[in-house]
Symmetry: C2
Subunit: 337 residues, 2 copies
């Protein structure tokens, strides 16, 4: 019998999540049934959507998130002891999974660790997991970039943004990132090859953009929403594309008190923009895997750096989550259990 621990969300968050919104529950896991496996968690992901989706789940709920674990016991010959599993079981140190059961929901998916060569399994919740699939599919499939186009990314230092900028460089684009500190802006340029990067908190965004993109913006990869999105949309070129992948700036707002920003319809109209919301759950595991194959190649060839912001310890998950929401991370925030 295994004694397992998990985080349960008790409340609708009010503003920033509080530690008291969570309970840590201990429980004995039941013996495995046929087809089930027992997974010992190795890496847990924290992502902005954990905050955003709080209002969509009936409380209390087990804190979902992607995680990577190793099979400790198996009653499923396809997933033997020692093999690795990616699941949406979230903030727990052990879980029981039936790998052949249909997914309970589009986001609640589980799959064998993809072929990642000698790379760290932690990447399977980052550049080779949901954030990597998001960066790849949203930018390439929805954005349809062409060489020479100018791409602007907000939340550029985050798990998704830091990958999008590098993929855009691989595809021959001119890449401008906005991030939350001077330090991260510097890293985006020096480590990840962004053409320009700015601390949105300390620059005049409109001016910085006019100087960095004197010929206008073709693709805006929007991770954060807010007033900066309006400012960028008014700098876009005719037939520009806006991919809305996150709206982290408003995740701590309640639905009836969303921020007021400069309206965007005139920009959309007079520039014939296409603005599209991107939900990674609409894409199949097969499509994710196509992305992973390509990203593994880029990492192995040195064309792409999968930056990780690694923390340690099950008990630190809440703090890492809040830190990520505050922008403390550069690259993918992940916790080793």
């Amino acid at each position: 019998m295994v004694r397992a621990r998990k985080y349960v969300v008790k409340n609708r968050f009010q503003g920033s999540p509080k530690r008291s919104d969570y309970s840590i529950i201990e429980q004995d896991l039941p013996p495995l049934k046929d087809g089930e496996i027992l997974v010992k968690t190795e890496w847990i992901s924290v992502d902005p959507y954990l905050r955003a989706y709080n209002s969509a789940y009936p409380v209390p709920y087990d804190q979902f998130a992607f995680q990577v674990g190793v099979v400790q016991e198996s009653k499923d010959p396809n997933h033997p002891v020692g093999s690795r599993i990616v699941s949406h079981k979230g903030w727990c140190n052990y879980s029981v999974v039936n790998m052949s059961a249909p997914f309970p929901s589009p986001e609640n998916r589980h799959y064998k660790l993809p072929n990642i060569g000698n790379l760290s399994p932690s990447l399977a919740v980052g550049a080779l997991g949901m954030p990597g699939a998001t960066a790849y599919l949203a930018f390439l499939e929805t954005g349809q970039p062409k060489p020479g186009e100018t791409v602007v990314i907000t939340g550029a230092g985050g798990a998704v943004g830091s990958l999008v900028g590098q993929i855009a460089k691989i595809k021959g684009c001119n890449v401008i990132g906005f991030t939350g500190s001077d330090k991260k802006a510097q890293l985006l340029k020096e480590e990840l090859g962004f053409d320009k990067a700015f601390n949105y908190k300390s620059v005049n965004i409109e001016k910085a953009l006019q100087e960095a993109a004197p010929n206008g913006v073709d693709i805006y990869f929007d991770n954060v929403g807010g007033e900066i999105s309006s400012t960028i949309m008014y700098q876009m070129n005719y037939k520009g594309r806006v991919i809305v992948v996150g709206s982290i700036s408003s995740y701590n707002s309640s639905a009836n008190q969303l921020p007021q920003v400069t309206l965007v319809q005139p920009a959309i109209l007079f520039k014939s923009l296409k603005v599209e919301g991107f939900l990674i759950w609409n894409w199949s595991l097969e499509q994710w895997n196509e992305a992973f194959v390509e990203i593994v190649k880029w990492i192995e060839s040195g064309q792409l750096k999968a930056k990780e912001h690694i923390s340690e310890g099950f008990d630190n998950l809440f703090d890492v989550f809040i830190g990520m929401l505050n922008g403390d991370n550069f690259g993918k925030a992940v916790v080793r259990i």
Copy 2:
């Protein structure tokens, strides 16, 4: 020699256009050269984009707009005396046009009156002109409606909106309109067959919409922008489409003082919306003509009513324009010269 009159815009409009922003100029038109025709204006259009494009034209400029006229003198055998011409020559009582010259700009186009049967030539600046082509192409090509879908239209009593709602009914949609008076809301339902119509000034928009579209909105045809757009976008269904065709609520705002509204990125993201700006100038005359052929059939069969708000007199153009911007019209505002 013909003595002609025209309106010249002298100033960048500040807020609502003022009569003093215009001069009426008289001038003698030069004799026709080979290939030219002299057109006597019969009908002049006033449209919201006349206000919006003021900031894009260097002042002073001749007030552009679509107009229908009859050929009075011709040095072009393809356009004989007595035939009718649609041009973008705007607010003038006579004009000289070279029909075979390339268009000076995408909007500055001219063409022979389409085949409109026994219908009034005035419709060639309305249901069988730019507004009709806009309604048809934006709704059907960009919106891709399916029978049974719910369509919401703002500016529903205007030249474009009043057509879109009827086309949506022809295509089997459930149609909800927002307009600026109780009277117009009633006309939308009783005369034009809208399923529901509301005076946006006097209802709680969110509540009205929840009741009128309990299963959500699939297509939002946005003529006005503003806070009502945000409200509607949060009521949309997964994979809904927003067609941004106008933003009339902000046309009197200067570019650096646009209204603040509830941000729309969370709606776009979590509902996987597609929001697209539609500019009719991107569509060729051939595409316009395909729309007109279909619209003529609908009008002749009684399926579609081309409502006109007719005023009289060259000297009243300014007042009709301001009235249209204030929403005085039901259907297409047009002036008989």
